[in-house]
């Protein structure tokens, strides 16, 4: 098959299709995922090809979606549920945190919970409130869940399939503003890296920049701009948030001695806080500067006309890089 240029939306759609072809136990459920193909069209065409029994338009109730998916998983299915927007996941919070996350543990491994909960996350699309949230830390804090975030079309294609194949429940975060933004070439015959691994996406020597989901692109732009000023940034796409894959991070920070973490989520008790703690615990004597965090401010997500001030951008990442270098 010849390689094709695809968007993230297309990569996810193709990945879902492939997973459904490979395993008849894979079901998709969510609001508007059927004829409409989801509000972002990620499930476009799947109900037409796999039928209403496998691509299920659900009543408008998130706890109901996740709770019934628990039952389907107990019956031996592999449900992939779509939460329409990040801010709508909270009605399902109890089911995710108390039921999905704990079922394998409390049943002593007798009941597996192979469920994927897809959540379009992050801002930058000019949306009304509750449509631009970054709730990853709430789930990464919960034992029993695994949490990943894709950042590009090719990862979208592979990671969704790997998440579906996982016997553990996976919170699958998709940077919604990247859905239709960029195209990349997909080689369907390639062998993907394991799901729960981080990846160095740009090599550098001066500062390690850690990013995931939507901020990978921000970090890459920052690295490009910094190169023009003679500063060499190493960028790591974390990909997995729980578990963290600290190997590549620690290896990098031991070389550069400096780390900046960037995410759209609020800084306070966010992923950056955990990364900072772990880097400090493991690389204390290699550090030339404290680990710095660049993220959303500790406010509710603001009105969209000022969201670019809330979101970490190239300049704020570079500002943190400069502070790190001048420490």
């Amino acid at each position: 098959m010849s390689n094709q240029k695809i968007t993230l939306a297309k990569g996810l759609n193709m990945g879902l299709r492939k997973a459904m072809e490979d395993d008849p136990k894979v079901l998709i459920m969510g609001e508007d995922v059927g004829k409409l193909g989801g509000v972002f069209r990620i499930t476009d065409g799947l109900q037409k090809d796999f039928g209403e029994d496998r691509v299920i338009d659900s009543p408008l109730a998130e706890s109901g979606i996740v709770g019934t998916a628990v039952g389907m998983a107990l019956r031996g299915y592999r449900p992939v549920v779509e939460i329409q927007f990040d801010g709508f996941v909270y009605p399902a919070y109890d089911q995710i945190v108390c039921q999905v996350a704990k079922m394998h543990y409390r049943s002593k491994g007798r009941n597996k919970m192979p469920m994927v909960i897809r959540i379009p996350f992050g801002g930058g699309i000019g949306a009304v409130e509750h449509h631009s949230e970054s709730p990853e830390a709430q789930f990464a804090h919960t034992p029993g869940l695994k949490v990943v975030a894709c950042s590009n079309p090719v990862d979208g294609y592979w990671m969704i399939q790997q998440a579906i194949a996982s016997d553990d429940p996976v919170i699958f975060l998709e940077p919604k503003r990247q859905y239709h933004a960029d195209k990349a070439e997909l080689d369907e015959s390639a062998t993907p890296e394991p799901l729960f691994t981080s990846r160095v996406v740009r090599q550098g020597t001066d500062v390690t920049v850690l990013a995931y989901g939507p901020t990978v692109k921000t970090a890459m732009k920052a690295a490009e701009a910094a190169a023009g000023e003679g500063k060499s940034l190493e960028v790591i796409d974390l990909r997995t948030l729980s578990p963290l894959d600290m190997g590549p991070v620690l290896e990098s920070v031991r070389r550069t001695g400096r780390a900046v973490v960037t995410h759209e989520a609020h800084v306070n008790l966010g992923m950056g806080s955990e990364l900072s703690a772990r880097i400090t615990e493991e690389c204390f004597y290699s550090l030339e500067a404290p680990v710095l965090r660049v993220g959303g401010f500790d406010t509710p997500y603001p009105a969209s006309r000022i969201e670019e001030d809330f979101l970490p951008d190239l300049d704020r990442v570079l500002d943190a890089v400069d502070r790190s270098l001048s420490f």
Binding site: G64, L74, R75, Q95
Partner: protein, 398 residues
């Protein structure tokens, strides 16, 4: 209950639901009165197609089941008082509701319980000793849910009704609904209480089940109390009447009448197995004991009410019926009592012998595929424990 209708807003509650319904109201389905008299009901019957001997055998079986279930409950309560259990959720008074529902199941059906379904667990063949671990604090449920098609107890009120609905949706996709093969067709029963009926999850489960016509029976034991809150705090209409608003039938059965509960639940399960969708069964009963062993009902309810319900005891009426009609002799009752004593012994001795889990076992089964992070944390704690001189802590890998 009385709320006068306003012009243009339809009939008032009394017009629709009738006057206040003491003792379950006229729509209470009953086949055996508290006095032990068999009564007829136009839609539901017990024993159809059975010979007199077979029918008597079943009633004796129910009696035995209820006595043993009550013994599980009284032994566990006593074990809590002796400090062997941290807490116990009592089912006293609800034996008929649970045995009637439990015995209506077929092996291929699946049960999603609350934390009070000890009688249903017993019907499913779960060793009652395995129920105690959760309350003793040595595990979160020791039985294999897949072995008896009996899920783990669910503590978060109502969450399991959604699991039941999803499981039923899975059955639909597996082609085990409405095939006409009694060995194959299956259904799910979701247990919950009157308090849970206020939960969003329960209402969402009703909506999903109705929308997909899922083969699930919503079995609500209305025991009149959610800890200290009476049923009036949960609903202004009889609970079973809610079902119609969701688009499926609801019935109220005398939950202290094992024959009626069995007949109604069996019919509801059969509707589900036949592909006719969900049913709401409200088993009208009473929580004779406390909510749990930590509760003190004297703070919020009248002993008069309890005395009133004592006259409706689910076991006494079956005993009267069996004796008056010469369907069981003294040897039978003695035999059941001896069996209950054996069960009590099994629970007392077994409970005290339940070992505390190894500390390191807390790290087991967090994931199907364990993470390196967790492995490192386990090893770190193991090393910490071993750093104490004379430590005998063994690894908890199972």
């Amino acid at each position: 209950m009385t709320q006068s209708g306003s012009p243009g807003f339809g009939p008032d509650l009394v017009e629709v639901f009738g006057p206040s319904q003491q003792d379950g109201g006229p729509e209470l389905i009953q086949l055996l009165t508290p006095e032990g008299e068999r009564v007829e009901h136009p839609e539901f019957s017990f024993g159809a197609g059975l010979s007199a001997d077979e029918e008597a055998e079943m009633v004796r079986g129910f009696y035995r089941d209820m006595v043993l279930t009550r013994r599980i409950d009284t032994e566990a309560t006593a074990l809590q008082r002796h400090g062997e259990l941290g807490i116990w959720a009592q089912l006293l008074g609800q034996e008929a509701a649970q045995i009637g529902a439990g015995r209506a199941l077929r092996p291929q059906d699946y049960v999603f319980p609350t934390y009070r379904e000890h009688g249903v667990a017993y019907c499913r063949g779960v060793d009652p000793l395995n129920l105690l671990g959760l309350f003793r604090g040595v595990d979160h449920g020791a039985w294999d849910p897949n072995e008896n098609n009996f899920g783990l107890y669910t503590i978060v009120i109502g969450a399991q009704t959604l699991h039941a609905t999803g499981y039923a949706m899975g059955m639909q996709r597996d082609g085990v609904v409405g095939t006409g093969d009694p060995e194959r067709d299956a259904a799910v029963i979701a247990h919950f209480g009157d308090g849970a009926s206020s939960q969003g999850d329960v209402n969402e489960a009703f909506i999903f089940a109705a929308s997909y016509n899922a083969p699930v029976v919503f079995f609500c034991q209305n025991n009149q109390w959610a800890i200290s809150e009476p049923i009036e705090r949960q609903t202004r209409i009889p609970l079973y009447q809610r079902a119609l608003g969701f688009g499926f039938p609801g019935v109220r059965v005398d939950g202290n009448d094992v024959l009626a509960t069995y007949a109604v639940t069996q019919a509801a399960l059969q509707r589900a197995r036949d592909g006719q969708g969900p049913t709401f069964v409200e088993a009208y009963t009473y929580r004779m004991g406390a909510h749990t062993t930590t509760d003190d009902p004297t703070r919020y309810r009248l002993s008069d009410d309890v005395e009133h319900w004592k006259l409706k005891d689910p076991i006494a009426r079956v005993e009267v019926y069996l004796k008056r009609n010469g369907l069981a002799d003294d040897a039978f009752f003695e035999g059941v009592k001896a069996e209950a004593d054996d069960l009590g012994h099994h629970l007392r001795e077994g409970c005290k012998a339940l070992p505390d889990p190894q500390p390191l076992s807390m790290f087991d089964h967090v994931y199907a595929e364990e993470t390196e992070e967790l492995r490192a944390e386990r090893e770190g704690y193991a090393a910490y424990l071993e750093s104490f001189e004379g430590s005998t802590t063994a690894g908890g890998h199972s």
